[in-house]
């Protein structure tokens, strides 16, 4: 079920992840909204009263399937305003929108998740999904890159995931502080450090486009087929239903046909500036 006119959501938890990233956990205020469900990789439009909406990917269900977490970077008017809200405050939500990660195609395969910066947020739901249905998937390899080691969020979660059987976590920071447990350098360099069986790997990426381009190029050099690479794109989105035109990207609307694309679908335009 998709909600097209916003409904009221109550903030039931708020986490400061870093100086400019926070997570709002939301709960429906009306009983009748329980038909709502989402696929990992989809997003919601969150509404700040009197200011406007922003597209935010959905992190995960709560334990009781009624909680929806949204990790947000404080950067524009709406996100600045959202960051000032408190537990118990009310926001609007419509969604879920877009096409999520290819859960079916990933079955029986090793899943390589490559994320950069806040791109780790849209991948959390897929990680949760794989961990919940562990028998359906092979190895899970999680690579996360940040500009500065201080930018890393979800530190505890990465540590927990790293302890699980058949899960490998590797972190990279372009610039690092002393005691940084990960690699100092580019995330693409991690691809050579982790062991990948590219004959049965499916890659899912989310992060800055330069990073995703470089990763896709390196992976194809390593002989991973291009169609085994999926990536989540981002553009200005205001309507979320393919009408407002802002996220038009060649022959697609990212909000509707995406945000998750198979690499060959978008490879050409990703190499062009201004689209």
């Amino acid at each position: 079920m998709m909600i097209d006119t916003p409904v009221a959501m109550k903030i039931i938890a708020k986490n400061e992840e870093s100086p400019d990233v926070f997570t709002l956990t939301l709960q429906f205020m009306e009983e009748k909204e329980t038909g709502y469900d989402f696929q990992p990789g989809q997003f919601n439009m969150l509404y700040l009263f009197g200011v406007g909406e922003v597209p935010i990917s959905i992190l995960a269900h709560g334990e009781d399937n009624s909680l929806y977490a949204h990790t947000i970077r404080r950067v524009g008017r709406v996100t600045q305003g959202l960051s000032l809200l408190k537990i118990g405050d009310c926001v609007g939500l419509r969604g879920p929108f877009g096409r999520g990660w290819p859960l079916d195609k990933a079955q029986g395969k090793d899943v390589l998740i490559v994320t950069g910066g806040l791109g780790c947020a849209p991948s959390v739901s897929i990680i949760h999904h794989i961990l919940k249905h562990r028998e359906r998937y092979g190895r899970l390899i999680i690579l996360q890159g940040v500009k500065h080691s201080d930018d890393l969020i979800f530190r505890k979660q990465y540590q927990e995931w790293a302890q699980l059987p058949n899960v490998q976590v590797a972190l990279a920071a372009d610039i690092s502080q002393p005691n940084w447990p990960g690699h100092t350098g580019l995330i693409t360099e991690l691809l050579d450090q982790v062991h990948l069986d590219l004959s049965k790997t499916l890659c899912m990426m989310c992060g800055p486009e330069g990073m995703m381009r470089a990763t896709a190029e390196r992976l194809t050099q390593l002989q991973l087929p291009e169609d085994a690479i999926y990536l989540s794109l981002e553009r200005n989105m205001e309507c979320a239903i393919g009408h407002c035109g802002h996220c038009q990207f060649g022959g697609t609307f990212i909000c509707k046909e995406g945000p998750v694309f198979n690499y060959p679908e978008v490879k050409f335009l990703l190499s062009q500036r201004g689209f």
Binding site: G52, E53, N236, G245, T252, R273
Partner: protein, 380 residues
């Protein structure tokens, strides 16, 4: 069967539409252009007015011959009636306990009867229907306007200097999308019926059948409009343009046109198929409510490609390229049609007279000039 509507019956037509509950909108001269506004009386029509159009140029001229539709088009026609420049979508109210209550806003006004839609405008309406109506998601407000619209098309007897609908196969004669289609002839109009609503109206007006002479004259008039066109879209606006554009993203012409383009957005504002809009928020003065609306936007603005602190299209070159590659190119991927209907508005209303057919010609290497043209009676 074709009917004849005499000039004297125009007021009867307007009265009949009003009796059916419609607000009549029709062409009239305002501020030196032909615009669509409420039409209460036939006398308001632009009798004897011709429009002179060139790249970046639009002037009206009064002639002796008293025809009501002796012009090609004005800056706008159907689009602002269906896909409004600004339309409220929902309202939110904040309770005393801080809870937000959302309520959808639907249009609430009399239905509109539009008199004088051109063939290119109807082609554009069919394209907007694909974007907003015949999609996985429906724009409910657009749908309301669309379902309540009564369309009286008027086939063109004259083409403007920037018209190229013959090459885009969207005119000058309307083929669908109307309730009634008129063609101006001596002393009145030949009327073609496009729907049951249209038929009922003609029955009410007790129109007589058109004579053989009337029909022949109507055909001559539309043929005259077609023959007046000097411009064409290269490759006849076909799907071929898509690959030509996408294979020439580094063509030097992009840089050259960007040197002239002001990135003002006039072309997108007058384009009858452009649908970009941004969402706006207007809180009420008391502070306990707000209205969320959509408002026309343009890919020529900086904000259009804004994303978390960056602008994807930070130069005019990128914006012009975005516009043309979408309109004539990847529009095919999304809607199985070109986004151009040959109305020439973007050429006329461009303050520096950039002509998209000329830009396309430079990139496609095929002329935008009609060469096998039979001279029309109004050419010199």
């Amino acid at each position: 069967m074709l009917y004849f509507l005499a000039y004297e019956q125009i007021n009867d037509l307007l009265n009949a539409l009003r009796t059916l509950g419609y607000t009549c909108m029709g062409p009239q001269v305002q501020d030196g252009t032909i615009v669509f506004d409420e039409l209460n009386h036939a006398a308001q029509l632009p009798w004897g007015v011709h429009d002179m159009q060139k790249p970046g140029y639009y002037r009206l001229q009064q002639s002796e011959k008293k025809e009501a539709f002796a012009w090609a088009n004005g800056p706008q026609a159907i689009k602002p009636l269906l896909f409004k420049p600004k339309e409220s979508l929902w309202r939110v109210q904040k309770n005393d306990d801080g809870k937000l209550i959302f309520k959808e806003i639907m249009p609430d006004h009399k239905p509109v009867a539009l008199i004088g839609a051109r063939s290119c405008d109807l082609a554009a309406m069919a394209i907007q229907d694909k974007t907003l109506l015949k999609d996985k998601f429906i724009d409910k407000q657009y749908q309301w306007h669309r379902e309540h619209l009564f369309v009286i098309a008027v086939n063109c007897s004259y083409s403007g200097g920037n018209c190229f609908c013959v090459s885009t196969q969207t005119g000058p004669k309307a083929t669908s999308g109307y309730d009634l289609a008129l063609t101006e002839v001596d002393k009145g109009f030949v009327v073609d019926i496009g729907s049951d609503k249209g038929r009922n109206l003609i029955t009410t007006l007790k129109c007589i059948p058109a004579t053989e002479t009337n029909s022949r004259q109507a055909d001559t008039r539309t043929a005259q409009a077609a023959s007046m066109q000097t411009k064409r879209m290269p490759k006849n606006n076909s799907r071929e343009l898509r690959n030509i554009l996408m294979n020439h993203l580094d063509h030097p012409r992009w840089h050259e046109v960007a040197e002239r383009c002001l990135s003002c957005g006039n072309c997108t504002a007058v384009c009858p198929t452009c649908f970009c809009h941004h969402q706006t928020e207007t809180p009420v003065a008391q502070g306990d409510g707000s209205v969320h609306a959509r408002e026309w936007d343009s890919c020529f603005t900086q904000g259009h490609s804004y994303i978390h602190g960056q602008v994807v299209r930070d130069t005019t070159e990128k914006r012009y390229k975005q516009w043309l590659t979408h309109k004539l190119g990847t529009w095919w991927d999304q809607f199985d049609t070109s986004g151009c209907v040959g109305c020439g508005r973007c050429v006329t209303w461009c303050p520096v007279g950039i002509d998209l057919t000329e830009e396309m010609a430079a990139i496609a290497g095929e002329s935008n000039v009609v060469t096998d043209k039979k001279k029309g009676p109004h050419d010199d």
